[in-house]
Amino acid sequence: MAMSADEIFKSVQGVLCETLMVDEDEVTPEASLVKDLGAESIDFLDIVFRLEKKFSFKIQQGELFTENVMSNPAFVVDGKFTDSGMKMLREKMPHLDFSGFDADRRVDALSELFTVNALCEFVKRKLATPQAGAPA
């Protein structure tokens, strides 16, 4: 049976509480992983591993969080995403809410789009996609 949005949120909330040592009430849908919950780079890998375990799916590198795009001059110029960069982000990261980011486009501000909501959206999309197999 498909998980409801609330069930997904509760599970993601549990994962983030364990990973980032934060209280449940801090993990609101709008909370940003870095800015509000204090996530650091290695926490992203930890979150990926724990989400895989919790939901029994496999997350490929660069599927949930961006990787190696910042140093690509086709995507980033003067610390801001180009049109190509924005197109690539929209294609690769459909779980992120880019409304409001188009005007900003600063690479430094991208991390703020990784919110609890974005994680829930990622999980929702992932669960709706047929899986090749559970993680090894």
């Binding site: 364990e18 990973t19 780079s41 290695i42 926490d43 890998l45 930890d46 990926v48 591993f49 895989e52 375990k53 590198q61 990787e67 190696n68 910042m70 140093s71 993680p135």
Partner: protein, 181 residues
């Protein structure tokens, strides 16, 4: 051996599990400082928990490194959990039992239990646990350059693998002439 906090590998299941032991001795300097006599209180030589954690991390780190024949620079990046229930003193033996929970190109998650042998009763007893995250730093630090050679798995770690009969897991380019078997 400088900064080597395991004495020998005692169990090894490739890509899955590794166990190592550490004998705690009064000859180790740090026991004299942890804790020295103070006023009327006698010295209390106790193995520092931070060094027990280091031993656990070295055990799990070698296990993670062995998966890719020690080509990756494996760095302890996060201690998600570390709990100790009891102290460890001189004359006792520690056993670190680590297994890989999850591994991908960016890094690995490992779980470990810490056991202690007291020779007086001859029993191993579980006294702690750890959850550790390791990063393959060359995969995770785009733009940051690290030395070409693998400074994580240096000569010290080779001694451990060789003395534990595990030198076959060292790639030829890393092995000293005597270890090319």
């Amino acid at each position: 051996m400088r900064w080597l906090w395991i004495d020998s590998v005692v169990a090894f299941e490739p890509e899955r599990r590794m166990a190592a032991v550490k004998n705690v001795s009064l000859a180790e300097e740090h026991l004299h400082d942890h804790f020295p006599p103070e006023g009327e209180l006698p010295a209390q030589p106790i193995m520092p928990a931070s060094l027990i954690l280091e031993g656990m991390a070295q055990t799990a780190g070698i296990l993670v490194g062995s998966v890719n024949a020690f080509r990756e620079k494996v760095i302890l990046a996060k201690v998600a959990l570390f709990e100790m229930d009891e102290d460890v003193v001189a004359g006792q033996c520690l056993r670190y039992d680590a297994h890989i929970e999850r591994l991908d190109p960016a890094g690995a998650a490992a779980e470990g239990t810490i056991e202690r042998l007291d020779h007086r009763d001859g029993e191993w007893r579980s006294i702690g646990r750890a959850s550790l995250m390791f990063s393959h730093i060359d995969q995770n630090r785009a733009g940051v350059e690290f030395p070409e050679h693998n400074f994580v798995f240096g000569p010290n770690f080779r001694v451990i693998l060789e003395s534990s009969g595990l030198s076959r897991f060292i790639t030829p380019s890393q092995a000293p002439p005597s270890a090319k078997n």
